[in-house]
């Protein structure tokens, strides 16, 4: 008898704790947040008693009803397994309410709120059950793989606060740019700093450092030193750490060149090797994961820059892209002169079988390529973008012909 009584007491305590949860939850019903967009975790300091979740009315009503029923049964001294039977639906309803909130948050694209809610409601079993659905929803809603990976890592780690989460956020910066930007309105960024979540303090620091903004010198994430030397801030001059990729630094700036088509005395190769001496991933072999990721991205960017700038056709296309003109369209052209000319050249290449005639054709085509090059330069200087695009098309055809010749040689 006493044994059963003890178990009942234990159950009663359990129910009481879930009741207090319900109180918190129902308070949310009475005092819901004013707008749907307000992130739930931003609170003025001192408002610690503010309810965490606002619930859909229906879910909370049924939840409260079931709890009442459960209490009634308990009061009437029902065998404990009846009350046990009612425990799980209560739990399920709790989860349901959490999920309705989550869903609304997802639909409002407030992904970071979602992570917080997931973290706060420490219910691992439900989340492992619904993990797949969560992942799908994140993937569909954001279509960013980085976000998905972080979501799954959050769920997998059993809701423990982990410093690795922060690095995940940092690592997947590019994939986070959309939700982070949405989240990082001016007011929120400042408000976060005061909040109790330590991980978001770190995130705040990271966010604000990457949004260095106009007028501010970029600072090194490692030593905090400002960029001293002129030129793009790809690696810190003081401590040597590789910096995260800044997409606003274009390829010409990386090599210290003006934004022109002509690059004489650019010494591209020398500068390229100098950069790789500072940024190559092999040099950060023993450093942190974060820095390895930065090094991989930065050196890939420098390689891209080198390859784009060293080929005239790619350089021309990139120049136009920087001006906002998209040259790489997949439309068909019916310019009879250009096409007839190209047909003749290609046919000649097909028929030529010895290297002598091929070389002859090669020189001819190279001359024509040079001519197109000059005309592009002229057009670009005059900001005559239509002619520039036409020149690029001609250059591409000639470039293709040159490739074929090289293949045959």
């Amino acid at each position: 008898m006493t044994y059963v009584g003890g178990v009942r007491l234990y159950l009663g305590l359990w129910v009481m704790s879930s009741n207090s949860c319900a109180m918190v939850v129902s308070k949310g019903l009475v005092n819901p947040p004013s707008t749907g967009r307000e992130p739930y975790f931003v609170s003025p300091p001192g408002a610690a008693a503010r309810p965490l979740l606002a619930v859909d009315g229906y879910a909370s009503c049924s939840f409260i009803f079931l709890l009442f029923l459960h209490r009634l049964l308990f009061f009437l001294r029902c065998p404990f397994f009846f009350s046990f039977v009612f425990e799980s639906p209560c739990k399920m309803l709790n989860m349901l309410s959490v999920f309705s909130v989550l869903r609304r948050q997802f639909l409002e694209n407030n992904c970071l709120n979602v992570f917080l809610i997931m973290r706060r409601s420490k219910n691992c079993s439900l989340f492992s059950l619904l993990r797949t659905s969560l992942k799908e929803l994140v993937y569909e809603n954001t279509a960013k793989r980085g976000l998905w990976l972080s979501a799954s890592s959050l769920v997998d780690e059993d809701l423990h606060l982990h410093p690795r989460i922060l690095s995940n956020f940092c690592i997947n910066t590019r994939s986070f740019s959309i939700p982070v930007k949405r989240f990082d309105r001016a007011s929120n960024c400042r408000g976060l700093g005061h909040h109790e979540f330590p991980e978001f303090r770190g995130l705040n620091r990271f966010l604000c450092s990457s949004e260095a903004g106009s007028g501010e010198l970029p600072r090194c994430w490692n030593c905090g030193g400002a960029a001293v030397s002129p030129g793009p801030f790809l690696a810190c001059g003081l401590c040597g750490s590789v910096q995260p990729v800044d997409q606003s630094i274009d390829f010409f700036q990386i090599f210290g060149l003006e934004r022109k088509y002509e690059i004489k005395d650019g010494n591209l190769e020398g500068k390229y090797k100098d950069w790789q001496k500072k940024l190559h991933p092999d040099l950060v072999h023993s450093k942190s994961e974060k820095e390895k990721m930065f090094a991989a991205e930065q050196s890939a960017r420098v390689i891209d820059a080198y390859q784009t700038l060293s080929k005239p056709l790619l350089r021309a296309i990139y120049l136009l892209k920087l001006e906002g003109v998209h040259a790489d369209e997949e439309k068909t052209i019916t310019d009879p002169d250009l096409l007839a000319e190209m047909m003749d050249i290609r046919e000649a290449v097909e028929e030529a079988n010895d290297s002598h005639s091929l070389n002859q054709i090669q020189t001819q085509v190279e001359e024509k390529f040079e001519k197109c090059s000059r005309s592009f330069e002229q057009a670009f200087k005059m900001h005559d973008f239509d002619n520039a695009i036409a020149a690029i098309e001609r250059m591409r055809y000639h470039d293709r012909a040159l490739e074929e010749i090289t293949k045959k040689l």
Binding site: L96, F99, L102, R103, F106, L129, L130, T132, S133, L134, E136, L137, E140, D328, E329, E330, K331, T332, I333, T334, D335, P336, L338, L339, A340, M342, M343, R346, E347, I392, E393, R396, Y397, D399, R400, A401, E404
Partner: protein
């Protein structure tokens, strides 16, 4: 089961991401390879022949050039023969080859209704190569247009000579 329930709760419903095209190897479709290995209708007609229409198109994005020529029977308006010459990728060659095959024996108006999507479906072209089939469709249209303009020109020339004769006799 719970997972499915969870999915329904979250309102995903039957939002299944369609599996990617079930091709394990990313090679060319066998039809494309067939057209490449056994080219049909490669060649040229005389450009100045009045019964020949020449369509010359190019794709600047990849530097492809495609020439499609049709020989039309003046009386019936049917296409009796076609040939092509394409410098480009395998998909472009196959698309133009298929175009010449389909065009033979059809009426000129009928031929204008050949869509690039049909060619692409016939060859199972991947999305990145859809512009090749577009090029083939444009080549057909250009050839037909060229033939019509050639037909119109001698008519205009005849009208002109008739006028000059009238003026001379007047």
């Amino acid at each position: 089961m719970l997972r499915a329930a969870g999915r329904r709760i979250l309102g995903l419903g039957s939002g299944h991401r369609a599996p990617a095209a079930a091709v394990a190897s990313r090679g060319y479709h066998e039809r494309v390879v067939d057209h490449y290995d056994n080219p049909r209708n490669v060649g040229s007609f005389d450009k100045n022949d009045p019964t020949v229409g020449t369509g010359l198109v190019g794709a600047p994005a990849c530097g492809d050039v495609m020439k499609l020529q049709i020989k039309v029977d003046d009386a019936t308006g049917k296409i009796v023969d076609a040939c092509f010459k394409t410098f480009g990728c395998g998909s472009a060659i196959a698309s133009s080859s298929v175009a010449t095959e389909w065009v033979k024996g059809k009426h000129m108006e009928e031929v204008l209704s050949i869509k690039n999507t049909e060619i692409a479906k016939h060859l199972s072209l991947p999305p990145v190569k859809l512009h090749c089939s577009m090029l083939a469709e444009d080549a057909i249209k250009a050839a037909v247009k060229d033939y019509e303009s050639k037909k119109a020109k001698p008519a205009a020339a005849n009208a002109e000579t008739a006028q000059t004769e009238k003026v001379a006799s007047a």
